[in-house]
């Protein structure tokens, strides 16, 4: 008998509540049933490149995280385990299983498993014991900290889940208490030794890549001779929730260009620092614009180059990032800027499992910049 694929997809996508001790049995039965029914040459493939743990806080947040899973596993098939910490739950664990499928040719489907485990925050060790039993061996395990606060703010949970993971992915966008959060997380990141199994990634770092690319090209010696070393002033303006991103961008520039931090100052919606470069003082400011979109809006650069002073403005222009040459010899430049959905960023990050020393250096300077603000 041939099954109705649309119905099957729907059925598998609907979570089924199961006894936590019988999750594997239930998944096995689910696959067996699907294989038996596929018929007519159709095949069902269980694809898995890694174990992906997703930490969320509360049911609503877990549901929001789950919305990203179908697109995510299409790019990076994985056994996904959503861990929802639910305040007020008793010491027991609740579990649901489902699968996400898609057609990859006329008949075959590709399916990835989705398990959700709910637990009381105080019962993390009970939950961790279940998760350990659910991890597929010989595959990398990553933890996506979906909850919008630094993992280090919940040390017990983070320690327990981080210990199972080779890759920690978090997102500094929208962090509350940015200064404390940046310091806390940056300290954790920089404390990792080169030989540590666990590496951390901030999605904000990945989002900065178009800006980094454009800055690298705008300040290239062939375009603006002497500008890289002769930077004197950088003013970054950003929209809501993007202070940590702008901060990280500054820290990247400073760490790449070998600046030494002098001091920092916090005034209302504006943060500023002074650095010492090989050619003098560099003043950097980050300012929030309340009415703007949640993104880095613009970067104003001033430098003393070998051809004299220069000024350029990098800013958004629709779906592009644009360099306005201002008083410089730079040509106008444009690169595409596509705001990537978070599942695309996660899938891309999962494919990069080695640590990123540039990020680590930038995080280190970001922490020092936080300290300098007092």
């Amino acid at each position: 008998m041939q099954i109705d694929h649309a119905e099957t997809l729907l059925h598998l996508a609907t979570p089924k509540r199961v006894d936590p001790a019988e999750i594997e049995l239930e998944l096995t039965a689910m696959w067996a049933g699907l294989d038996d029914n596929a018929g007519d040459g159709a095949t069902v493939t269980r694809a898995v490149m890694s174990n992906l743990l997703i930490y969320a806080q509360g049911e609503a947040e877990a549901a929001k995280a789950a919305e990203h899973i179908p697109e995510l596993v299409e790019r990076h098939p994985a056994r996904v385990i959503v861990l929802a910490a639910i305040d007020g739950m008793d010491g027991q664990l609740d579990a649901w299983v489902s699968a996400h499928c898609r057609r990859i040719d006329h008949q075959a489907q590709l399916c990835a498993e989705h398990i959700e485990v709910r637990f009381a925050p105080t019962g993390i060790h009970r939950a961790a014991s279940l998760i350990r039993s659910l991890l597929i061996g010989d595959l990398p395990t990553a933890l996506w900290w979906f909850h919008p606060a630094p993992p280090t703010f919940q040390p017990d949970l983070f320690d327990a889940l981080g210990a199972m993971s080779q890759q920690i992915i978090y997102d500094s966008v929208g962090w509350p208490e940015p200064q404390r959060a940046i310091t806390s997380m940056a300290r954790w990141v920089t404390a990792r030794k080169q030989t540590d199994d666990t590496v951390a990634f901030n999605l904000a770092w990945r989002r900065l890549k178009p800006w980094r690319r454009l800055l690298a090209q705008a300040l290239a010696p062939c375009q603006a001779p002497g500008a890289l070393r002769g930077l004197q002033r950088i003013d970054i303006r950003h929209g809501p929730n993007r202070l940590p991103s702008a901060w990280l961008l500054c820290a990247w520039l400073g760490s790449r260009l070998g600046w030494r931090l002098i001091d920092g100052k916090h005034q209302a919606t504006r943060l500023s620092w002074r650095f010492q470069s090989t050619q003098g003082e560099v003043r950097v400011s980050i300012e929030r614009i309340a009415e703007a979109t949640s993104r880095i809006e613009s970067i104003d650069l001033r430098w003393q180059g070998t051809d004299g002073p220069g000024h350029a403005r990098l800013h958004h222009a629709g779906h592009l990032l644009h360099v306005d040459p201002g008083q410089s010899t730079l040509p106008a430049m444009t690169v595409p800027f596509r705001s990537q959905p978070v599942e695309v960023l996660i899938a891309a990050q999962l494919a990069h499992r080695a640590g990123d020393s540039l990020f680590k250096q930038a995080a280190g300077l970001a922490a020092n910049m936080a300290d300098a603000l007092g």
Binding site: A216, V323, P331, A332, R338
Partner: protein, 512 residues
């Protein structure tokens, strides 16, 4: 641009940082440009890996202007791009796309191109680094090179930036002498480091994965030699007949069209020694060593090692297919081969005594390219002692296209009280494992040229080494008085002669 000059570049784009340049496509309104090159550039732009400054100037004889070319490009992307055209991405891309009408054998026309390039480069703040892509028929390659040289469009590589790089499509010549003549002419205008001879097979993910599989896994390389491997089969099968390419095919044939370039490149990746670094010339030296170790085909051993054939009328997926000689633009007495099978040996320590069986043809049952490494049988039979049903040996199959991936056939015990052995296949499929669409070969290769990485391109010595090995076969065929070739019905895996060639040594072609 190197990291020492610009520390901000570190970590952006891995090892491949495309440098600002103008891409000039000769034959810019043609099929290759519309189907492959412009869609590839569009996808690179979507990935954000093109430099902030670039322009694409297509050049051709057709009476088009920028807008008409942009329409053609839009249609090409709509039809052939792996990702759909999105208006917001198209708009910034298309503003960098230009058309210049002209012919490259006319000095005035080339002067006009030069002037246009200067204008476009000034508009986009480009320094004059240029990538010339010769998407033209093979007999026009040298004319193109001469034209850009005479127009003063080639920069001296010793001066560094701005650079000039030239991409040339295969085939480079139709025999050793013509290949040498083309290379000689190219090198009167260009340094070897400026010439990128493209073989799009080398840009395929699965082909690049051969090196990763061999040298990124500890389990294969110890077995990768004549002590453990019985033989290797390389198949490049095409389902279509010659179709609209009959004109070209009549002057080429399967040996020139597939073996001299794609298949010998695959062979060199499978058989090369481990390189000591990933430096382009180290890799290319290792590939060249394989070509130089090919045992020559001589008149004395040709009958045992070479089979050529032509497809006769037959069926493909239930539809009639005419025989080759009945195709449009094919001579009724053509002796051009549409199929060739070869038994090849490499005279070196690693591969002593290991045959490499190669076959390629048109009008075969399906489109499939595969490299299959068949290991030797177990030395002592403990199971299935019935000699009429020996254990199937292990086979590692690397599927190049379609359904890219690899599989390993191993013997396994069937469940039950008796020891019964059954061959099972451990299968890895790119599509089902990695999900996301892989980039097209041309995307990777264009990016490589813009970044100045020649690893995946053919050097002159390799092109000529492969022609030198092919030449005795071509000479023998040329001297043959035969008016008929062996035939195989369209829609089958080749002629009986190819079956016999491999069966004489106790082996069989794989059914793909």
């Amino acid at each position: 641009m190197i990291d020492n000059d610009n520390p901000l570049l570190t970590g952006l784009g891995g090892d491949l940082i495309a440098q600002p340049c103008t891409i000039v496509i000769f034959g810019g309104a043609g099929d290759l440009s519309r189907r492959k090159l412009i869609p590839a550039l569009y996808n690179l732009a979507l990935d954000g890996v093109l430099p902030a400054q670039f322009a694409v100037v297509t050049h051709g004889r057709a009476a088009l202007d920028d807008e008409a070319l942009r329409d053609l490009a839009r249609q090409g992307i709509g039809k052939y791009s792996r990702r759909p055209l999105e208006e917001e991405d198209w708009e910034p891309f298309v503003r960098r796309l230009y058309y210049q009408q002209g012919t490259f054998d006319d000095a005035d026309s080339m002067a006009a191109l030069k002037a246009r390039l200067h204008g476009i480069e000034a508009e986009h703040g480009l320094s004059g680094s240029r990538l010339f892509y010769f998407a033209v028929p093979p007999d026009l390659i040298t004319t193109c090179a001469r034209a850009i040289a005479e127009a003063g469009l080639i920069n001296d590589p010793a001066l560094g930036d701005p650079w000039t790089r030239v991409v040339i499509e295969k085939p480079i010549g139709r025999d050793l002498a013509s290949a040498r003549a083309i290379n000689d002419e190219l090198q009167t205008h260009l340094a070897e480091s400026q010439i990128y001879r493209i073989d799009h097979y080398l840009g395929k993910e699965t082909v690049q994965n051969i090196l990763v599989m061999r040298f990124g896994n500890a389990i294969f390389e110890p077995l990768w030699n004549g002590k453990h491997i019985d033989h290797v089969q390389i198949t490049v099968a095409e389902a279509e007949g010659v179709g609209t390419r009959a004109g070209y095919y009549e002057s080429a044939g399967a040996l020139r069209d597939m073996v001299q370039n794609h298949i010998l490149q695959l062979l060199s990746l499978v058989a090369m020694e481990p390189p000591w670094s990933m430096d382009p010339d180290v890799i290319r030296d290792a590939r060249l060593d394989v070509l130089r170790a090919l045992r020559p085909i001589t008149p004395a051993n040709m009958a045992d090692n070479v089979v050529r054939a032509q497809y006769a009328g037959g069926f493909y997926q239930g539809n009639d297919v005419p025989g080759y000689r009945r195709e449009d633009r094919v001579a009724a007495d053509s002796t051009v081969e549409t199929f060739v099978a070869l038994r090849v040996f490499l005279d070196n320590w690693r591969w002593a005594g290991v045959p490499f069986y190669i076959r390629t043809g048109k009008a075969m049952p399906k489109r499939a390219s595969e490299i299959a490494v068949q290991f030797k049988s177990v030395p002592h039979m403990l199971f299935n002692t019935d000699e009429s049903h020996p254990l199937e040996p292990n086979v590692l199959a690397l599927r190049i296209q379609p359904d890219e991936g690899l599989s390993l056939r191993i013997a396994s015990k069937l469940p039950g009280p008796r020891v019964r052995i059954y061959p099972v296949k451990m299968d890895f499929r790119y599509g089902s494992t990695f999900g996301d669409q892989a980039p097209e070969a041309y995307e990777r290769l264009l990016l490589d040229v813009m970044a100045g990485d020649a690893t995946l391109f053919m050097r002159r010595d390799a092109v000529e080494a492969s022609w030198a090995w092919i030449q005795p076969i071509l000479d023998a065929w040329q001297g043959s008085k035969s008016r008929w070739l062996p035939e195989y019905p369209a829609g089958t895996w080749g002629p009986i002669e190819a079956e016999r060639m491999i069966a004489d040594h106790g082996r069989a072609w794989r059914v793909l």
